[in-house]
Structure formats: structure tokens, C-alpha cells
Amino acid sequence: MEKIDLTLNINHKPVEVRISPNDTLLEVLRDHLDLTGSKESCGEGVCGSCTVQLDGKPVRSCLTLALEAEGATIRTVEGLADGDTLSPLQESFVNHGAVQCGFCTPGMLMTADALLKENPDPDEDTIRKALSGNICRCTGYAKIVEAVAHAAHPQDQCPDCASGLKSCCKAKE
């Protein structure tokens, strides 16, 4: 099958790749570019672990052809942190224990990041609805929802902050 040269805009950098038409965006990210943050789990658009942002919207990279992503601004979990400095959302995930095995985390982060960009002040229902397409089999979601709420409200709405737990980022400040 004929190979196609393609320029993808990934995390604000143009990247040249040589792909087959049947390569999904996820395969190109992981296998061609070593951006292995995005994970493949179900491969059929159910679990959300492959979520990346296309023009700021969360989409499933396992069901997006790489060819279809040409011309779009692609953002993966690798693009969230600034060097070694984690984004406030990532920081919040760490401090709230929202990461256990970590497999769903990149997808959760990308979905939550897109939500926070659109709605910087989401309530719990909004967060739960936004994350409803991301499956986590470890945390039971409570910590993840807390972490997202906390990223948006550094000073309040954080039960850990209220109880003065040391693990919480506000307590550290």
C-alpha cells in the first residue's frame, strides 16, 4: 500500500511522518513518534484512554485516521507540562491521588483539560458528565473528580484542603 507523507501539528510543533492510509492517529503518535502517553485499550471508542485534543476538542485517537488529523492542532498529554513543570491540572491529579495504575490518566487529563478550557468553573455534575466517556478501573472516580474540581478552584471546594491534609497542594503552599 502506498505511503503518504504528512505534516501533523503536534503540541505546537510541525512533525513530518510517513504513514499508510490505514494508520490511526493513535498508531502514528505511539509507533512513529514515540508519544506513548496516549494509550490503546478497547480500540473501539468506548474507554477514552486514547483521548487527545484536536483543535481543542477531546477526540478518540484510536478512531481517528492520521490522515483526518492533517491540518488540525493536535495536543497530547505530553504537551500539558512545561518541561518538568506540571500543569495545574496534572499537579492536582498527583496531589489528590487521582492516579493509581495511571493507564486512564492521559485520557482523563486531556478530557478534563478541554473541559476546563471551555468551562473554567464546572460543578461536580458537569465534571462527571464530561468524564463519562473515560473509564477508570482503579480509583472509583471520586479522586479524579476532586482533582479536576480542585484544578479549577485552587482555594476552595477541595475536601482535602478543608481538612488540612498535607498531601494536598494547597496545604503545601
Binding site: 490505514n22 494508520d23 498508531e27 473501539e44 478512531l63 485516521l65 473541559l115
Partner: protein, 334 residues
């Protein structure tokens, strides 16, 4: 899971897309959002030689009001339909149905209305991996002569689980199908064959371009039952349109009842719909009767092939219809 190989083209005008379809028709598949097509290709249910992507056809994504109708481009993504005040006001059943498809933030930016209507019929004996299917004889839809869902059935009984189609049928929508040098409009109620293998009455060289919804003074409602709201297809759904009588405002002038996810197409129940005419908008007994009638009619078509037991799905038909009728009646009275 790897996709099978194919040739990809992304025509930038409708004419070019229709040209390609005319040349390659049966060997080609249209890719809009890909949330149905690519999954089927990954499972080896489908291996088209050519993929024609609608990515560059931005002209097919719009929602506009036009002479007593709402016209929606087939490539309009579900998120835009959910966000549309026009659709919410004039065709709330469609708005609700789109909102219920898949996961809120993810599916909606890729999934399109056209793709939702044209999603293939499903059956848990058929929508399985190649490995699973290799362990037994092929079913009708897989090219064989057996139906695992209904013993000794001579045809495929796969189920249409489209949310959008059930809502649109209640709203009496029409579809615009374009082919090279030709265009035709077909009512959604006439769009289905009774064959699960080829569920849609459209030619391989035709492209769904537009969905036309008549604007009436009626109110609509869509109700859906699924195991996990963000992941699963509906196991039963109902779309309802109610119009108040022109003379007596508290009476039903016209009703359209549609049951979805119970057969090879959404079922428009003409008898139950007609019986509601002249009934009061508050007549819950009439709603109950319509629900029971719908349950009996729909049970004839349903087979055990989409998850929950058949008995449960049949029992829930009436509940979905009653809820939808109540919601639509309340919206009229409000």
C-alpha cells in the same frame, strides 16, 4: 487493533465526492466521523477498497431554518446539533437523542447526524471480533445462511440502534440523497428495507447530504434506555411527537409514536398513533393504552440480540412510550 488496508480520498467538493461514488460505488465507503465505520473495519466486518472522506466537505455541516423546515447538513457533528437553540426549540427530541449518543465530550465532536442515521444495524452475534466469529458458521449478515438470534430465520434480524433515527422518524423527517446528476428526497419512514443485511433503501452511489425536519406547532420527546449511558447503544428507545388540536387546545390533534432499537428499523406505529387523536393531553389512561399497544406491536419484531433479555426490553417499550408521551404533553401545556 489494526485497520485493514484501503485507498483514501478526501474530495473537496460535493461534485467530486459524487463522481467518486459513481465510479467506485459498491467498493467504497463514506467516512464522516468514523465512530461506527472504523470500529466495524477493525473487527473485520468490513474491508472497503476505497474510503471517501467527507472531511473537506465543510459545506455539508450546517443547521438552518428554511420555509417551515429545519435543514441539517448530514456532516453536522452531534455537538453542534446539541448546542443549537433552533433544534432545541423546534425539535427537542432530536436534541435529546444526539445528547444521549455515546460519551458527551468525545463522541460528539466526531460523530455526525448523517453517520448516526446510517450506522449499521447491530447484533451481539455479529458485532464480534474475527476470532469470535471464526469459531462458528457465518450468519446471514456475515455471508452465511444462519441466524443465531432467531432460530430458522431466513433473514438477518440485526437491530437498528440509532438514537437519531428514532427521534427523526417521530419528527417525520425526510432525507436528501444525492448521486451524480441526481437528487431525491425520501421520507425516513420509507428509507428502510426489511433486511438486516442491507438495512437502508439507498444505492451504493448515493450520498446522504441533508436531513429535513418539518417545523410544526407540536412538541416532541425522546426517551432511551441503556445499561451505561455514556457507552452503550439503547436497548429500547422511543420518539414521540404530539400536536394539540387546532380548535380544542387541551386535546391531541395528531400523534406520532416511534419505537427504536427493537427491530431492523425504528418502528412508526400508525395504529397506536391514530388512536391518540382526540384524547385529552392529560389522559394518562390513553397513554398507558398506547404504551401497551406499542409493546405488543414492537414485540413481534424484536429478537434477543442487543444485550438485555427480550422480555425486559419488551416490557420497557411501554414505559418509554408513556414517559415520552407525558413529557411531550407537558411541553404543550406549559
Amino acid at each position: 487493533m489494526r485497520l485493514p488496508q484501503f485507498n483514501y480520498t478526501g474530495p473537496d467538493t460535493l461534485e467530486k465526492a459524487l463522481d467518486l461514488l459513481a465510479q467506485r460505488g459498491p467498493d467504497a465507503k463514506i467516512l464522516a466521523g468514523g465512530t461506527d465505520l472504523l470500529v466495524r473495519m477493525k473487527k473485520g466486518l468490513l474491508a472497503p477498497k476505497y474510503i471517501i472522506s467527507l472531511k473537506a466537505l465543510k459545506d455539508l455541516a450546517y443547521i438552518k431554518q428554511d420555509k417551515g423546515t429545519i435543514r441539517i447538513g448530514a456532516r453536522t457533528c452531534l455537538a453542534d446539533i446539541i448546542a443549537s437553540d433552533l433544534v432545541q426549540k423546534e425539535a427537542s427530541a432530536l436534541s435529546t437523542a444526539c445528547e444521549r449518543v455515546g460519551a458527551a465530550t468525545i463522541q460528539h465532536f466526531r460523530g455526525t447526524l448523517g453517520g448516526n442515521i446510517l450506522q449499521d444495524t447491530r447484533c451481539f452475534h455479529y458485532n464480534q471480533s474475527a476470532f469470535h466469529r471464526s469459531g462458528r458458521q457465518a450468519c446471514h449478515k456475515d455471508g452465511g445462511k444462519i441466524c443465531y438470534a432467531r432460530d430458522e430465520s431466513d433473514r438477518c434480524n440485526s437491530t437498528c440502534q440509532s438514537d437519531g433515527a428514532a427521534a427523526l422518524m417521530a419528527l417525520d423527517a425526510r432525507l436528501v440523497l444525492a448521486s451524480k446528476g441526481n437528487e431525491r428526497t425520501v421520507a425516513l419512514t420509507d428509507f428502510y428495507t426489511t433486511d438486516g443485511i442491507q438495512p437502508f433503501a439507498m444505492e451504493p452511489n448515493e450520498l446522504l447530504t441533508e436531513i429535513i425536519i418539518p417545523v410544526t406547532n407540536g412538541k416532541s420527546s425522546y426517551q432511551r434506555l441503556a445499561y451505561r449511558s455514556a457507552i452503550d447503544y439503547p436497548i429500547v428507545c422511543a420518539g414521540v411527537l404530539l400536536k394539540a388540536d387546532a380548535g380544542k387546545k387541551d386535546t391531541i390533534g395528531e400523534a406520532r409514536i416511534v419505537v427504536g432499537a427493537m427491530a431492523r428499523s425504528p418502528l412508526f406505529l400508525a395504529k397506536e398513533s391514530a388512536e391518540l387523536k382526540g384524547k385529552l393531553l392529560t389522559d394518562t389512561k390513553a397513554f398507558q393504552k398506547a404504551g401497551n399497544g406499542a409493546m405488543n406491536s414492537a414485540s413481534t419484531f424484536a429478537v434477543h440480540n442487543v444485550g438485555a433479555t427480550l422480555e425486559y426490553r419488551c416490557a420497557m417499550v411501554s414505559e418509554m412510550i408513556i414517559r415520552a408521551l407525558k413529557e411531550a404533553a407537558q411541553a404543550i401545556q406549559a
